[in-house]
């Protein structure tokens, strides 16, 4: 199926995150352990148990998009178009000079245009006026995001949206890797975006008892692997990566952050919201990604964990990592980006892939912040609170979504 496998490298990063907009600001904040979690400001969160979030502040879509587009899309598409623009600029990629059919878009989002959907309904109920925006269907649809990126950059290659809850961004990246490997595309805009800060989302996640209630200390609330963790903190934002066929990147002298070398995905077929306590399914996804990359567990120098900060995830993920990596765990640092930017659902894996690219290019790994009290059931090296410089050749990034959707990605240093 994949003959003389073509290689895929990341040449551009576009990030819109709660602790930084743009790859450089995002990296500075992550390596310094800066939290983006604050009290919720985008709606009145008073009726909810969790009133904190990693909101993207200081983001005006008008800085990136014409007014005409700003008004016609949901916030999750604002994030995507801004991030795609940043990524293309970062990559020095001029899509108008590319063969349009060779440039594709595969993005992930868990909830799509839920913010607009909810706002329209609340407005209709409040006013009694049942006039909906003529574009409403297309604003709510998850594939609005890949369509808008295609229009913005005039790219007509493979184009779709992946929706696998909190694993969406990793599935998007993995499927984009396949498009490059099989030759269906030379350049892919890939990643994930999410704008889930709405009353419905807070109420719905509250009902599942998975959100942190540490409203008194927002920046300390997201504490993956810490014994005192009490759930995740809702986040938003997104990252878009320019994933490019290696020879194509070399021909135009592009700067290369990292090579994406492996992708493994599966389903645990266990429960809609609970992870399999054995960790077997997550372990199988990691093993599949390693096999795809042609690497042994010992070759992995760092894991960017799913690391949500819920009691269940962190224990199951730790078990799964132990299963796959065994004694190598003693020398295998694992950290959680969500300790700083909360959990941006389908966008989280894309933001974490951006962290992996930056970690590989800087040879430094960002910490898990707020790690204070060891939990006997979470006994790995979580890079507590301070970033660490070390030699990184290959790293693994995990993402696990509701419905037991698992996807792991392997990224490798590209020597330049």
């Amino acid at each position: 199926m994949i003959n003389a496998r073509r290689r895929a490298v990341v040449t551009g990063l576009g990030v819109v995150a709660a602790n930084g907009i743009g790859a450089q600001a995002f990296w500075d904040a992550n390596r310094r352990g800066i939290s983006g979690v604050r009290a919720v400001t985008s709606f009145d969160a008073a009726p909810y148990e969790s009133r904190i979030a990693a909101e993207v502040r200081d983001f005006d879509p008008r800085d990136f998009l014409p007014e005409k587009i700003v008004k016609r899309v949901d916030r999750y598409v604002h994030f995507a178009l801004a991030a795609a623009g940043l990524a293309a600029a970062d990559a020095g990629l001029r899509t108008e000079q590319e063969e349009a059919s060779r440039v594709g878009v595969i993005l992930g989002t868990g909830l799509g245009g839920i913010l607009f959907h909810e706002a329209q309904l609340l407005e209709a109920l409040r006013t009694g006026n049942r006039r909906f925006n003529p574009l409403a269907v297309s604003i709510v649809s998850p594939n609005a995001v890949s369509a808008h990126v295609a229009m913005q950059f005039r790219c007509t290659g493979p184009n779709f949206v992946v929706s696998t809850a909190c694993a969406s961004g990793n599935h998007a990246l993995g499927e984009s890797l396949r498009k490059v490997q099989t030759g269906e595309g030379d350049v892919m805009f890939t990643g994930g975006v999410e704008a889930p800060l709405t009353e419905f989302v807070f109420g719905a996640f509250q009902a599942m008892k998975v959100l942190s209630k540490n409203n008194a200390e927002p920046s300390r609330a997201s504490r993956p692997y810490d014994r005192a963790r009490d759930g995740f903190v809702m986040g938003e934002g997104g990252a878009v990566l320019v994933l490019e066929e290696l020879e194509h990147a070399l021909r135009r002298n592009a700067r290369i952050y990292a090579e994406v070398t492996g992708y493994g995905s599966n389903n645990g077929a266990y429960h809609m919201v609970m992870p399999d306590p054995t960790g077997d399914d997550a372990a199988a996804a990691m093993r599949a990604a390693l096999r795809d990359a042609g690497l042994a567990p010992e070759n992995i120098h760092y894991i960017n964990a799913h690391g949500t900060g819920t009691p269940a995830n962190d224990v199951c993920e730790t078990r799964a990592i132990r299963q796959v990596f065994g004694p190598h765990c003693r020398r295998l640092p694992v950290s959680s980006t969500k300790s700083m930017i909360g959990h941006a659902l389908g966008a989280a894996p894309a933001l974490e892939a951006a962290v992996c690219c930056l970690a590989l290019s800087h040879q430094e790994i960002p910490p898990t912040i707020n790690y204070e009290h060891p939990d006997p059931e979470c006994d790995l090296d979580y890079v507590p609170n301070v970033s660490r410089r070390l030699k990184l050749d290959a790293v693994l990034s995990n993402a696990f979504g509701f419905g037991n959707a698992n996807a792991s990605i392997v990224l490798a240093r590209y020597p330049q």
Binding site: K68, Q120, E123, R131, N133, P134, L135
Partner: protein, 100 residues
């Protein structure tokens, strides 16, 4: 994106409002739009663009614009004349002496 309860449009401001909405919806420079501009020929308004345009004008005028009326619009001036007439009718109704 929110559809607040529409405020009635000042009849004197109908021409500039129509031109501003057209410019914004079609991504055109408002200085290039005149009352004589033809909607499809000069401005490139397509059928879905017309749906969006009417939605926005309804928001701003508080009027309901039936689809069959929209079909008669050929030039910018047709929309201006139509909205002015409808707003005037609304005014006359509001100022009419209560009967009985």
């Amino acid at each position: 994106m929110s559809a607040d309860t529409p405020q009635k449009l000042d009849p004197k401001k109908v021409p500039e409002t129509v031109i501003a909405v057209l410019a914004e919806n079609l991504d055109l420079d408002s200085r290039g739009i005149t009352l004589e501009s033809s909607l499809t020929g000069d401005l490139g308004l397509d059928s879905f663009g017309a749906v969006e345009l009417m939605f926005e004008l309804e928001n701003r005028s508080g009027l309901e614009i039936p689809e069959q009326d929209v079909r008669d619009f050929k030039r910018v001036s047709d929309i201006v004349t139509y909205l002015s007439r409808r707003l005037h009718e609304l005014d006359s109704l509001a100022n009419a002496e209560p009967q009985g």
